[in-house]
């Protein structure tokens, strides 16, 4: 089974679990039990959402980025996350949207600011964890 099929299987399992939990949640009487199943349901829904995001990203990774928006460094610097503007960061020539990435409060992250090409900084901190990038929404490429 390759990685793609594995993800599909996981998504299938997750939808099954959600259906099951929804049924139970409808029928239980005890309020605490209801809360318990509701919590499980929320957890499972979040999991499914993550999986879908992951699957979508996997597809878009194969896309040709030539069709995507191109950013120059000057354009990129507009998206610095201040005043509720989007926070975009370029890594390895790809521009990622970090606007709702929890560790990037206000478009800043451990002394780094959004709106820049942060390839070197990324490599020095997360160089061995490329999968971080896979889960981030991509918005375009950086024009050289």
């Amino acid at each position: 089974m390759n990685h793609n099929e594995y993800i599909k299987l996981k998504i299938y399992e997750s939808t099954e679990t959600i259906n099951y939990l929804q049924k139970i949640d409808n029928f239980v009487l005890c309020i605490y039990e209801k809360f318990y199943y509701y919590e499980l349901l929320t957890y499972e829904t979040n999991k499914l959402r993550q999986l879908m995001k992951y699957a979508n990203n996997m597809n878009s990774q194969q896309d040709n980025f030539k069709n995507q928006k191109e950013f120059t460094i000057e354009e990129l610097s507009q998206y610095d996350g201040s005043n509720a503007k989007p926070a975009y960061v370029a890594v390895n020539g790809i521009v990622y949207d970090l606007s709702i990435e929890a560790t990037w409060g206000g478009g800043t992250h451990f002394g780094l600011y959004a709106g820049k090409d942060l390839t070197n900084q990324f490599m020095s901190c997360h160089g061995n964890k490329q999968e971080i990038l896979r889960n981030l929404p991509k918005v375009g490429i950086l024009r050289k």
Partner: protein
């Protein structure tokens, strides 16, 4: 109310009471052999001892009467000058807990943080931490300076301050926070005197208090999940876009809260500045952005 369907419900209500009673019982058992405690204020602002005095349930009087025998602290002890430092030296030969607040200033052999003058010699904070750190049964680094360097070691760090964790070549329990919450300090010490060392995480913080991020228990979390954000201070929505550090800071502020549990930063409309986190304050800047 007795609930027939779910047996957990009834016991759930009494569990906290049982744990509280157990803690009190253990502390009463320990009364006869109270452990000594040295509290050194090194290169810091005395914020943590002030925070300790603000403790409630248990308060600092209970802490000093029932839990430990605090033999040395520059703010609280009655003795002065050489007499005070003699107390410090006497305690070194006993079993004791060492609490350090403030970083260790190391430039020029620690000369920028002198805590005593004994027999004509200046005793630096660095020397005192070194002396006591070698002999202590437990070492607690209380506050962000002692735990991680904090404001004392912030750029450009003219005094070459280091955290106690980096300075001492031994196990140091970190109780960070700027200041540390009184209940985190008293709670950690209560655990030590009752059961020994608490369970620590990778950074040597007690999981009991530093296990989950602020973001995970934030009362404004639902706004974040629905992507509704405050655009300026004073709004009731999630302050993530203003530079909130809740998602990268692990403490239990949202449920413990401060000043006798009256309020806490996010409850008072200021974003979290990550004061209990490694890298504070340099890596947590800007504290607010819009």
């Amino acid at each position: 109310m007795f609930h027939t369907k779910c047996p957990i419900v009834d016991s759930k209500r009494t569990i906290p009471r049982k744990i509280v009673d157990l803690a009190i019982e253990y502390i009463n058992q320990n009364k006869m052999k109270k452990m000594n405690l040295i509290w050194i204020e090194a290169c810091g602002c005395a914020g943590n001892i002030i925070s300790l005095l603000n403790g409630e349930d248990p308060d600092v009087i209970y802490f000093l009467n029932k839990m430990v025998n605090m033999t040395y602290n520059n703010s609280l002890m009655a003795q002065e000058g050489e007499k005070a430092f003699e107390k410090f030296l006497e305690t070194l030969d006993t079993e004791f807990i060492l609490v350090v607040e403030g970083a260790v200033s190391t430039k020029d052999n620690g000369l920028y943080n002198v805590i005593a003058r004994y027999k004509g010699r200046l005793i630096t904070g660095m020397k005192a931490v070194d002396m006591a750190g070698k002999k202590a049964n437990y070492v607690l680094a209380v506050g962000s300076c002692a735990s991680y360097g904090g404001p004392s070691a912030a750029r450009p760090n003219p005094s070459l301050s280091k955290s106690v964790y980096d300075f001492l070549d031994r196990e140091v329990i970190r109780v960070p926070g700027c200041p540390s919450h009184p209940q985190w300090i008293i709670g950690t010490i209560a655990h030590i005197i009752s059961f020994g060392k608490p369970t620590l995480d990778q950074e040597n913080r007690p999981i009991l208090f530093y296990g989950i991020t602020i973001h995970d228990r934030c009362p404004r979390r639902s706004y974040f999940d629905k992507e509704i954000f405050a655009t300026k201070l004073g709004e009731k929505e999630c302050m993530f876009k203003l530079g909130c550090r809740g998602p990268v800071t692990k403490t239990e502020c949202p449920i413990r809260r401060w000043n006798d549990s009256i309020n806490w930063p996010i409850g008072d409309n200021t974003p979290c500045i990550g004061c209990a986190r490694n890298g504070f304050p340099d890596a947590m800047e800007p504290f607010i952005r819009y």
